[in-house]
Symmetry: none
DNA sequence: CCCCATAGTCCACATATGTAGACGATAGGT
DNA sequence: ACCTATCGTCTACATATGTGGACTATGGGG
């Protein structure tokens, strides 16, 4: 036997709770004739009068009262079914595995991860910091964050630029006191330079108005690790070039100051890499959108 | 927000329990395309994939599993709602108020009422015997049973013939011994007659083969009450004419015997009267059907 | 490796359901 | 007693849903 039309239960319960077909129609924004028709057909199919109604009175029959109790139970379960799916879609959950270079992790993500974790209690973040090349897909990562000076090559991965920041020239106040502050980029040739890479001997500076100048400071030390460079600069060994986010804290504390404030040693781009967007989990999408700055950064 | 199509819950649960759209279609005798279409629309509306399926595999997603639990709960409640109404329809209950003449009550209904009461424990029978004219509708009766010789006049009431029985001529064996048994209806003119009504002086007899004869017995007594007539006949006062059901018991006990056994003094019809059948309660309908002999007369 | 049987999907068309509005019933107010 | 506002019902028509069958996908067997 075919199941009765379950939508009729809904209309029946709404009619009873509204106390009339007209009121139920108003509440549901559908014509009262729809309700009248569906209730009549439900009664025909069940072979029982559920509602005694005239143009001015409305009451449940004994059968209708029995029916209503179970019908309402059915609707409660149906709404629970719908809500549990919708809320599951609304609140991301599960594991999100990210990989990033150590500096990007330390100076960019480290502050954001707790906020993401606080905003999405059901997301389990797995942060893998590494300076080696990582094959995103092959090694099972959902997301990768990379900071780079030159544009990344094309690939099957989707690229989403998270940040573009200037690279500052910085030194300790003690160093500046001892050797004076360079007045122009050309003056850098008379100063000790703490290099970030063996081949980064010549620094290319660009003014805020777009003027470009190159100068080669005196090589004092080379380290390809930002914290080592920061500590060397604070130790008055010389000048160094670092992205603004990496030296922001030392500047705030007064351990370092900007040198040639109107100039930057280029820019660094931080990019989010992810596999194809199709079939992306809500949890992954939520992290992507957070890092993209599209979500309010509120911690609960 | 409009409620989702609740019929889709039913199809979804059937698909999950069947393990495939095809199997669910076979179980429900509907095309698999219907199920495919409805499930797809349900998923679109919920914004979630509930079932992962290919042409050869079928599994619930996490969301689908959560949804299924509540959906099945909803269907259990919906079936309970349907069943409680259908079972209520199946077993008649409530009060049925009948009215009948005193003889019809005593000689016809008195035996049946206990049987009806036994068959339908939830029916509360109210038997009102009266020899006065009763207005069925005006006085709030569900049913009336009337015995009559001539056809009842047309009315707004529905008539249903319950019984057609012959009227027997009876006398006590003592009377027959003292005055001899009439050999032909014409011999009645030499016998004492116990009349049932003042104007019923001439008895019209009809043979089993349809021959009609009229004869006027000697008026001995008149009573319009059957038990009084039965007792008078037993007291050897004369012959009387009574419906077979009324005198059946006295005949069985030997207190009375049939006179002119191949002849009857006409027939009496017992008719059930009821208001319009529309909106008839199941309890009333059950009594009607029982009295009509359409139901098995089983006592629990 | 190829073929076959059965799964799920899609679409043009058939059918069930939803709707607007007219109509009769009725209760309350004048 | 009459009129009006609102109720529920009914019907012709519009729209959503159900269906049959063609098509693609796929897994198992030969």
């Amino acid at each position: 036997m075919r199941m009765m039309n379950l939508n009729d239960l809904y209309l029946f319960v709404q009619a009873v709770e509204g106390g009339s077909f007209s009121e139920a129609g108003r509440r549901l924004s559908i014509p009262k004739s729809t309700i009248s028709k569906r209730i009549a057909e439900l009664e025909t199919e069940l072979g029982a009068r559920l509602i005694h109604r005239t143009s001015r009175s409305f009451s449940l029959s004994d059968a209708g009262r029995d029916f209503f109790n179970h019908a309402r139970g059915a609707l409660i379960e149906a709404e629970a079914a719908e809500n549990i799916v919708r809320s599951r879609m609304a609140e991301p959950s599960g594991t999100v595995r990210l990989t990033a270079s150590i500096p990007a992790t330390q100076f960019y993500l480290a502050d954001f991860l707790p906020v993401i974790a606080g905003t999405y209690p059901k997301i389990n973040l797995e942060m893998h910091a590494s300076d080696r090349f990582v094959d995103l897909v092959q090694e099972g990562y959902d997301l990768a964050i990379r900071s780079h000076f030159a544009p990344l090559p094309d690939s099957d991965l989707i690229q989403k630029q998270l940040m573009l920041e200037p690279i500052f020239v910085v030194a300790s106040p003690g160093y500046i006191s001892a050797r004076g502050a360079p007045a122009t980029p050309h003056d850098l040739i008379n100063h000790f330079g703490l290099l970030t890479a063996p081949g980064a001997e010549t620094w290319h500076l660009v003014s805020d108005t777009g003027v470009a100048v190159a100068a080669k400071p005196i090589r004092r030390m080379m380290a390809n690790e930002s914290i080592a460079l920061i500590k060397a600069a604070i130790a008055e060994l010389g000048l160094t070039c670092l992205p603004s986010s990496i030296c922001a804290s030392a500047i705030r504390s007064g351990d370092l100051v900007r040198v040639l404030p109107g100039w930057s040693a280029g820019t660094v781009t931080t990019t989010l890499l992810m596999p194809h967007r199709r079939g992306q989990l809500p949890s992954v999408r939520a992290v992507v959108e957070f890092l993209s700055g599209q979500l309010p950064r509120s911690v609960n």
